[in-house]
Amino acid sequence: MSEINDILNRCQELYEDLSLGYVQRWKEMYGKKAVGFLPVYVPRELIRASGMLPVGIMGGGDQIEIIRGDAYFQSYICHIPRSVIEMALSGKLDCLDGMMFPSICDVIRNLSGMWQLMFPEKLSIYFDSPQNFESDTGGIFYQNELKRILDEFSKLSGITATDESLRDATALYNQNRRLTQQLYRRRADKPWEIPTSELYLLLRAGNILEVTEHNQMLERYMALASKENRKPLDNSRLVLNGSFCEQPPLGLIRALERAGGYIVDDDFVLAGRMIKSEIPLKGDPLENIVEAYLKDSKDVPFKYNIENKGDELVESFRENRADGVIFCAASFCDPGLLEQPMLQGRLDKDKIAYTSFQFAENTGQYQVIREQVGTFSDTIKLWGGQ
C-alpha cells in the first residue's frame, strides 16, 4: 500500500472514530487535558498555550443513530446539535475536560446552556466573538473575552499561559495555516492531484491531531500527491459555499466530485483557515490574535458585514478561476440560509452562475443532488452557465 494511502487511511480512521481514541491516548501519554470546540472558530492557540489539546467536534455525520439527541431539539433545528448531544450522552465525548461553544447562532448558544446543565462538572465556555471590528471597541471586548477564557483554562489545566507560550503556539498554528493555504492553492492549481475528499479528510484530521503532527502530515501528503500521476479530467471548476458549520457527509463530498466538477475552493472546516494570513509574533501575543480576527478573518455568515457581503466569494471565484458556485448549505441553518440570498444577489450582479441545494450531516441519498450538480456542471461546460 502506498504511503499516501497510509496517510489517508489514518485520516479516515480519525474521521470515523467518534469516541476520540487518539485524544484518550494523547491524554494518557502526556497526562494533560483536552478541550473540545464546536464549529466554526476558536483561537486554538489559547488552548495549546494552556497545556491542553484542542479538539474540533463537528457532529456525528452519518455514523451515529440519533435517539436521545432528537428529544432536545425541535424538528426545525439543524442536525449537528442533535448528534453532538447524542455523542455526549453516549459517553463518546467523556475524554474532553471542557467544551467551547462559539457564538455562531442561537442553536449553538442554547447548546452551551444545555451543556452546563448536563455536565456541571465539566468546563463549558460560551465563546462570544465581537461584531464590532474596531480595535478600540470590539477589540477591547474580544481581548477581555480571551483573558476570561485563559483564566478558565488556567484553573482547568493548572498551567497559566504566558506571552512566550502564546507566541510558541501562534508560531505552530501559523505554520498550520501556511500549510493549509498551500494545500488549497495546490488544489486550485491542479485539482486532479488533490481531490477534495482527500483534502477534506486532512482538514478533519487537523481537528483531532496535535498541531505539530498535523503539520508533518500536511507536508508529507503534499510531497506525495504530486507523484501520484493522476490524470486531469475535462471538469468544470466550482466554488462551494455554505458548509461552514454542519458538514456534509463524506459520501456527498465524493458524489459532488464525481459529478463532473472540480471543487477549487470551499468553506469546510474553517478552524484552521478562519484567520487568513499569519499572526505576527512580535508584540503582545493576545493583542495580535485579537487584531487578526478583527482585520484578517474570513467573511462568514455569523460576522456582521453589511457593506461588502459577497465580495470575498466573488474574489474567490476570480482568484481560483472558477466557472460557477454551488451553495451547499445545511437544512435549517439560519445563518447560512439567511446569508444565501445576499450572496446570490452579489453573484447575479457579476453574472456568475450558481446552483443550490441543502443537506443534513446524515443525508444518505445523493442521487438527486448529484444529478443537479452534474447537470449544472454540464451547463457550464457547454453553455457557459447561461
Binding site: 490524470k231 479530467l233 475535462d234 471538469n235 464525481r258 459529478a259 463532473g260 438527486v368 444529478e371 452534474g374 447537470t375 456542471s377 454540464d378 451547463t379 461546460k381 457547454l382 453553455w383
Partner: protein
C-alpha cells in the same frame, strides 16, 4: 476527429464512436451481474480493436450514466444532457426527449441546439422503467423481446397501478389468478408506464416532436400506448400535443450524445489551449 461515448446503464453499457459528426461504430453489452468496470474496459478495448484505432486516436472519451468512475474517461456528462444531444442527432426535428431506461425515466424539453430547457424525472420508484417490465415478463413467462408484439394483440387492456412497481407487480399476479389474458395484462402495464411518461412530459412543458430514447424506446407496445394516450384529450395540456418518434438506435442516444458533446468540448478546450 474521432470521439467515443460510453453510456453505462443499470442493465447494459452502450458505446458509440463518432467521426466528424458521423456515427461510425456502436456496440452494446449486457451487464448481467458482471463487474461494470471490467465489462466497460473489455468493451472499449474491443471497440478500438474492431476500428483498428490506437487509444490516442480517440481525442475525447466521454462517459454518461453511471460511469463517473471510468478511469480512462476525458470527461463525464449527465444523462439528460447526453440524451438531449443524442435525441437531436437521431431526429433533428425533436424538441423533447423521453429517455426510458432500466431504472429511471426522464422527459427533457430541448431547443434546436440540444440545450436542456426543462426536465422532469422519476424519483426512487421504478414503475416507469425497463427493470419493472423485465420483472413482469419473467413472471408472465414471456421474453422481454416479445412483450411489445404481445401487447399489440390486446383487445381489452386491464388497468394497473401506475404509482408503485411493487403494487403493479401485485396487480399483475392478481390478474393472472383472475384469468386475465397475457396481452391484456401487458397492455395494461404499457398504458400505465405511458401515462407516467406523459405526465412527466406535461410537467416538463415539452411539446411537438418527442424522440424516445433508452432501452425501452424499442418496445413497440409502449410506443403504441404512448400514441394512444397522447391522443386522449384529457391528457393534453393546452396546446401541448405530442408526436412520438422512435429510431432504431434510440438505445444509443446517450452514448451518441456523449461522443458529440465530447467533440464539442475537445474543440472548445483545444481552441483555448491554442489561443
Amino acid at each position: 476527429m474521432i470521439t467515443a461515448g460510453i453510456d453505462v446503464g443499470s442493465s447494459s453499457i452502450k458505446i458509440a464512436v463518432m467521426k466528424e459528426g458521423e456515427l461510425i461504430y456502436h456496440h452494446s453489452e449486457k451487464l448481467r451481474r458482471r463487474e461494470p468496470l471490467k465489462v466497460i474496459t473489455q468493451a472499449y478495448s474491443l471497440t478500438l480493436k474492431e476500428l483498428d484505432l490506437k487509444e490516442e486516436e480517440i481525442k475525447y472519451v466521454a462517459t454518461t450514466g453511471e460511469a463517473e468512475t471510468v478511469e480512462f474517461r476525458t470527461g463525464h456528462f449527465y444523462t439528460m444532457t447526453t440524451h438531449a444531444r443524442g435525441g437531436l442527432f437521431l431526429n433533428p426535428e425533436a424538441r423533447a426527449v423521453v429517455d426510458v431506461g432500466a431504472l429511471h425515466a426522464r422527459a427533457v424539453q430541448i431547443d434546436e441546439r440540444a440545450k436542456v430547457l426543462n426536465y422532469r424525472m422519476t424519483s426512487q420508484c421504478a414503475s416507469g422503467s425497463g427493470q419493472f417490465l423485465e420483472n413482469i415478463s419473467r413472471y408472465l413467462g414471456i421474453s422481454i423481446e416479445e412483450i411489445g408484439s404481445i401487447s399489440l394483440t390486446s383487445k381489452k387492456p386491464e388497468p394497473c397501478s401506475s404509482i408503485c412497481a411493487v403494487l403493479a407487480e401485485t396487480d399483475a399476479i392478481n390478474m393472472v389468478s383472475r384469468g386475465i389474458k397475457t396481452p391484456d395484462i401487458v397492455k395494461g402495464i404499457h398504458l400505465s408506464i405511458a401515462g407516467r411518461l406523459i405526465k412527466l412530459l406535461r410537467a416538463s412543458r415539452a411539446k411537438g416532436v418527442v424522440i424516445l430514447t433508452g432501452g425501452l424506446s424499442q418496445d413497440i407496445g409502449l410506443v403504441a400506448a404512448l400514441i394512444e394516450l397522447a391522443g386522449i384529450d384529457e391528457l393534453k395540456s393546452g396546446d401541448r400535443t405530442y408526436e412520438f418518434k422512435t429510431h432504431p438506435l434510440g438505445a444509443f442516444a446517450g452514448a451518441i450524445g456523449a461522443a458529440l458533446w465530447g467533440a464539442f468540448r475537445y474543440e472548445k478546450v483545444y481552441r483555448k489551449i491554442v489561443a
